[in-house]
């Protein structure tokens, strides 16, 4: 399955945009009640704002000009009350709509993260970490800016505009139609230009993603850059990404700013139309100068928010471009679904590979027609030259991938019928590259461990001692409380492997796979580890992948993995012979 977000097919992109938009609206669906109240507040607020000038105008015409000061005071009190109500409605409008925006962003972030958790390992191997991080961080932030800042203005402006438009048409329908006609041109231009704006912004977001991937890769591997004296490498690669970003940012910037002068131009043209058409109407006796003056101000009330909408519309397009990139992720589905109906045949073997074929991409098959059985309580070793398919085989046991052909049975049942929870409880897999989270040794050892998660340090230490892991903990300076920084160099690779080992053993799996899991640990400690492995419950099946033969000497059975084939070796000697004679594929 293709998970590369930058190589999604046109069709995948199209459907994802549509499905994405629908999803975006779904995120707001449960807020209907709040939205209706907010809408009411917005309408009240705009009406009050539009009535203000009308009342002031009325006061001038009726009272000030006729020197009736009590009338002035009378209207002033009415105005004051209106302003008080507006104070309240405008507060409500902002809090309600802003609240909707914030909660929507919250839901959105959650659904992206949730989706990321659902996708299989293949997805993460096909995309650069930096690009993914940029999608989740930068692109949601673009949506955030729209929701938290622009959405309220957007709605406020639109309601002011509609109100002003209605006033324009009510006062004089012909002049109103004439005054609003430039708005139609603007509408047309907006529709025509929006895809271009969105496209340039999408390009820009893509180059931002590329740049952040570049920074991520270089900074995380900085020691190689120093040791090979390629400080210029970072500079050069970054420079290319930076220039690319500059180019796309200018393109996006020019596109984003095009509306502001254009909207301004049409607003002025509308004024010109009102002025000339209005004067014409006055000349034939259908209009008055006083009306023309207030008409011009209503036209302003219509076109000023429109001008602000120009900027907001651009924000909206930027947000949509970000949303598209996010919904590309949301549209992906895992290719490791759980099936309900599968083969069930009681068998002695705890795990069985039956004619399994597999390749990371369709064009290159890595494993060819593999069949073998693992029995409960036995220790198996997978040996063979590098690149022969050992890690791949182990990954299939843990169902990080599904075979392209063939069947894997766990406890006599198709492995695909197990829930992830059942499966991960049965199968422990210590990965070749240990990964630790920022936190402490304790947090990392107990990571994902439901049984011991609430244990105090003392209780946990007892568990660790009982599991014979006590001497391993002693290697850490502050024991369980030793701080850990993910990806940092504060503890050695060997120590990281020890934590991964303890983490897996304490989960007490039925099958424990060690993929060169102790490669960087010294041989004395390793001896300790193999004692611990031997003392695991008699029912635990162990699968050990290693180059150092002393780690596999206790194996009950040895499989020789080479060129994508798994052959059973009779004895350690057999395996050694095969290792020596076996041609190197890698």
């Amino acid at each position: 399955m293709n998970y590369d977000l930058n190589k999604l097919s046109k069709e995948q992109q199209k459907t994802s945009t549509f499905a994405g938009l629908k999803k975006l609206f779904q995120l707001m669906a449960h807020e209907k009640r709040t939205l209706i109240i907010a809408l009411f507040a917005i309408l009240t607020n705009s009406t009050l704002n539009l009535l203000g000038p009308l009342i002031i105008g009325h006061t001038i015409d009726k009272y000030v000009q006729h020197k009736d000061y009590t009338g002035v005071i009378h209207n002033a009190i009415i105005l004051f009350c209106m302003y008080l109500v507006a104070l309240f409605t405008s507060y409500k409008q902002t809090t309600l709509m802003g609240g909707v925006g914030q909660r929507m962003l919250f839901t959105l972030r959650n659904s992206i993260f949730n989706k990321l958790q659902q996708l299989p390992v293949g997805f993460f191997n096909q995309n650069k970490a930096g690009d993914l991080i940029s999608r989740v961080n930068n692109d949601t932030d673009k949506l955030n800016q729209f929701f938290s800042q622009s959405l309220m203005q957007f709605i406020g402006n639109i309601s002011t505009m509609i109100g002003a438009g209605i006033f324009l048409l009510l006062i004089n329908i012909e002049l109103g139609a004439a005054a609003l006609s430039p708005a139609l041109v603007i509408l047309f231009l907006t529709l025509v230009l929006s895809p271009w704006i969105k496209k340039t912004n999408a390009l820009n977001l893509k180059s931002v993603g590329g740049m952040s991937a570049e920074i991520q890769e270089s900074l995380n591997n900085f020691k190689v850059i120093i040791a090979f004296n390629r400080r210029d490498y970072f500079r050069k690669r970054f420079d290319i990404a930076n220039r690319e970003n500059y180019k796309t940012a200018i393109g996006a910037g020019l596109a984003n700013n095009v509306f502001i002068p254009v909207y301004g131009l049409f607003a002025s043209i509308a004024q010109l139309i009102v002025l000339s058409f209005g004067i014409y109407l006055i000349s034939i006796g259908q209009f008055s100068i006083g009306l023309l003056v207030s008409y011009l101000s209503y036209a302003n009330n219509f076109y000023n928010p429109l001008r602000q909408l120009a900027a907001l519309w651009t924000n909206f397009q930027v947000a949509m471009a970000g949303w598209d990139r996010i919904s590309q992720i949301l549209s992906l589905e895992t290719d490791l679904p759980m099936i309900t109906q599968g083969i069930v045949e009681p068998s002695a073997a705890l795990l069985e590979f039956r004619n399994v074929h597999f390749g990371y991409d369709e064009s290159r098959e890595i494993l060819h027609n593999i069949s073998f059985k693992l029995e409960q309580g036995k220790t198996y070793a997978l040996v063979g030259p590098t690149g022969g398919g050992k890690t791949t085989t182990a990954s299939l046991i843990a169902r990080l991938y599904d075979p392209s052909k063939g069947l894997i049975l766990l406890d006599g049942k198709d492995i695909r019928t197990y829930t992830p929870e059942e499966r991960s409880q049965k199968i422990g897999f210590i990965l070749q590259e240990p990964f630790l989270f920022t936190g402490t040794v304790k947090e990392n050892i107990l990571y994902g461990n439901k049984l011991y998660k609430d244990y105090t340090n003392e209780q946990l230490e007892k568990v660790i001692t009982d599991a014979n892991l006590g001497s391993l903990l002693a290697i850490f300076e502050s024991g369980l409380e030793t701080p850990i920084i993910s990806g940092g160099d504060s503890i050695s690779l060997g120590q990281k492997q020890l934590i991964a080992f303890m983490r897996a053993v304490l989960r007490n799996p039925q099958i424990l796979i060690l993929d060169e899991a102790t490669a960087n640990i010294d041989t004395i400690t390793e001896k300790l580890l193999s004692d611990i492995l031997n003392n695991l419950p008699a029912t635990t099946t162990r699968v050990i992948i290693a180059h150092r033969l002393n780690t596999i000497e206790n194996a009950d059975e040895i499989y020789f993995v080479n060129s994508g084939e798994v052959i059973r070796a009779g004895s350690l000697n057999d395996a050694m012979d095969m290792l020596l004679q076996g041609k190197q594929v890698s």
Partner: protein, 583 residues
């Protein structure tokens, strides 16, 4: 490692100081902004004149159309030019700032990067630069033109009627005060919410980098809860910030409306008593609406400026970090003598190496063995200059490591790291990572690392792109690519950090033979776990808890060091096989 606390300067440079090199652009930008704004003020005048002329029966229709069209056209042109220059100016500032940052970062030491934390530097290069970009593209123009309008409008108000004028202008400090109060509170919340966002990003980053582990353990739910917690906190801050803004806008609008009411009541009184004309009264209203909007703008822009200032300070922290000590100038070809004299290294509070001394004559082979976390990797980092000793000297051919020109030094010392670091580019570029590599030395390195067969089997041979974190390669393949990378520089000294851990014995032996044959005279320092493959080395050093507890030939150590014998015995059972079979 040392902490780089920035020297306290008398006053941190404001974000405006950033604009100095772009004065020309900025001036042009302000010129166009003022021109288009100025002409905009002219428009109502044209309309007013038109109306006046009409009532005086002096109306010339084509004349007013011409004037108006000209004004509109000029506004459009100047307005458009303004946006173009705005875009160019802000993007150029951003690009140059990023480049300066990357230049600075690229010259820093490994310790600096580790301490500054790559993900924070990423924020510096992206989010912080963006907020400065926003300052240049929006705040600058808005503030200058807003001030222009407020001052101009206020003067006009005062000249029409100073009493009413003062009453109206009184709203400016009220609105200003409200903005000041709200933004002060909001800024504190912004800083806190930024911390929450950092936490959010950390959870995202770790869940992406640790994706495989999370799937093996099936801890997606756990990660989701971690995320949910941070996300909820982010939402709460968002709502609190919203609460302040939701209060701000109505209050400001209400104050402005009160000003309009004052005009109506006070101005109405003046008109009725005859101390003010109706025209001036009308003008007051329109000028009020003219100055209200710019006050809003300045309020919001002051927030952008505050954010840009904070970002600029963070960026300056990186830009002003002291440069690493001037690199040496010595460019001599190394013979390959390596010596450590009483070297100590601290990692945080804890000593990683304690008073370590050792001598490696040119062309000899030495091995460093020892338990996990003994300081073996630290020792190699010292020898490449990745870290500096807290005390003691690191000498190559009798000269301190820092006296060498770094380019010349690094092209003679090859380092194979323990953890696989593969860049997302072609295999050729990954191996010929140093730019001193020739085709010939590339070929030699590939053959020596036994990679020929593997590369020939790939669809695009050397030009095959390997994915980030090398996830498309097996552990051993990555390790051998890293070896080839180190060998491709034709080193005089080769440092191997647990190289054999992920390579099978057979391949390992071939590779070590190849190295002897293809790189004669090479000084080899190898950190390893396997005694069998280094038994014949010229010197074996046993490192435990940061101290050298024994060193010498294999046979000597077998007689003198019980620790060594213990390690040897732990490997005995199968090494018979391993050595036996090769002979």
């Amino acid at each position: 490692m040392q902490t780089n606390t920035p020297k306290p300067t008398s006053k941190p440079p404001g974000v405006f100081s950033l604009l100095k090199p772009y004065m020309g652009l900025v001036m042009l930008l302000l010129l166009f902004a003022l021109l288009s704004n100025g002409i905009n003020l002219w428009l109502p005048k044209i309309i007013a004149n038109g109306i006046d002329d009409y009532s005086k029966r002096l109306f010339v229709f084509t004349d007013i159309i011409k004037k108006f069209s000209l004004a509109v056209l000029l506004i459009f042109i100047f307005g458009y030019l303004q946006t173009v220059i705005q875009t160019y100016a802000s993007e150029r500032v951003a690009r140059d700032l990023r480049q300066k940052l990357s230049d600075k970062i690229s010259r820093q030491s490994y310790a600096f990067i580790e301490q500054a934390n790559p993900s924070k530097l990423l924020t510096n290069l992206t989010a912080d630069v963006d907020s400065i970009k926003l300052f240049v593209s929006q705040a600058l123009v808005s503030i200058v033109s807003s001030l222009f309008i407020i001052i101009g409008g206020s003067i006009l108000l005062l000249t029409i009627n100073w009493k009413l004028g003062l009453a109206v202008i009184a709203i400016i400090p009220i609105i200003g005060g409200t903005f000041f109060y709200v933004l002060k509170n909001v800024r504190a919340l912004f800083i806190k919410s930024r911390g929450v966002i950092d936490q959010l990003n950390k959870v995202i980053n770790e869940s992406i980098l640790g994706a495989a582990l999370i799937r093996v353990i099936n801890s997606q739910q756990l990660e989701y809860h971690k995320f949910l917690e941070a996300n909820t906190e982010a939402k709460d801050y968002g709502l609190r910030i919203l609460g302040f803004f939701a209060g701000l806008i109505p209050i400001v609008t209400f104050t402005a409306n009160m000003a309009a009411l004052t005009i109506l009541v006070m101005g109405g009184h003046f008109v009725i008593t005859g101390s003010m004309t109706l025209g001036s009264f009308a003008a007051f209203n329109s000028y009020l609406s003219l100055i209200i909007f710019p006050i809003f703008v300045i309020g919001f822009m002051s927030n952008i400026i505050a954010q840009a200032t904070a970002s600029f300070q963070r960026i300056n922290l990186v830009l002003n970090a002291p440069d690493i000590a001037a690199a040496g100038t010595l460019k001599e070809t190394l013979r390959g003598d390596v010596e450590l004299k009483h070297v100590s290294v601290n990692y945080g509070q804890k000593p990683a190496l304690k008073d370590v001394s050792l001598k490696v004559p040119a062309g000899s082979k030495i091995a460093v063995i020892g338990p996990t976390a003994a300081g073996k990797t630290q020792l190699l980092y010292l020898l490449t200059g990745l870290i500096n000793p807290a005390s003691g000297n690191v000498l190559f051919d009798g000269q301190g490591i820092n006296t060498y020109d770094s380019e010349s030094f690094h092209s003679q010392v090859g380092f194979v790291f323990q953890d696989s670091i593969i860049f997302n580019m072609s295999i050729r570029e990954n191996i010929a990572f140093s730019d001193t590599v020739t085709d010939e030395s590339l070929d030699k390195a590939i053959d020596t690392a036994e990679l020929r067969g593997f590369i020939d089997g790939l669809p695009d041979k050397l030009n095959t792109i390997v994915s980030e974190r090398g996830s498309s390669l097996s552990g051993g393949q990555k390790q051998r690519i890293m070896l080839a990378r180190a060998l491709a520089v034709n080193p005089k000294v080769l440092l191997l950090d647990d190289f054999t851990a992920r390579v099978d014995n057979n391949t390992e032996k071939k590779i070590l033979t190849n190295i002897q044959k293809n790189y004669p005279g090479l000084t080899l320092i190898s950190v390893t776990q396997k005694i069998a493959s280094v038994e014949h080395y010229d010197q074996i050093i046993l490192l435990m808890q940061g101290e050298i507890v024994a060193s010498g030939l294999h046979d000597e150590l077998m007689k003198t060091s019980t620790d060594y014998v213990q390690i040897f015995n732990s490997q005995q059972s199968t090494s018979n096989y391993e050595t036996g079979i090769t002979h």
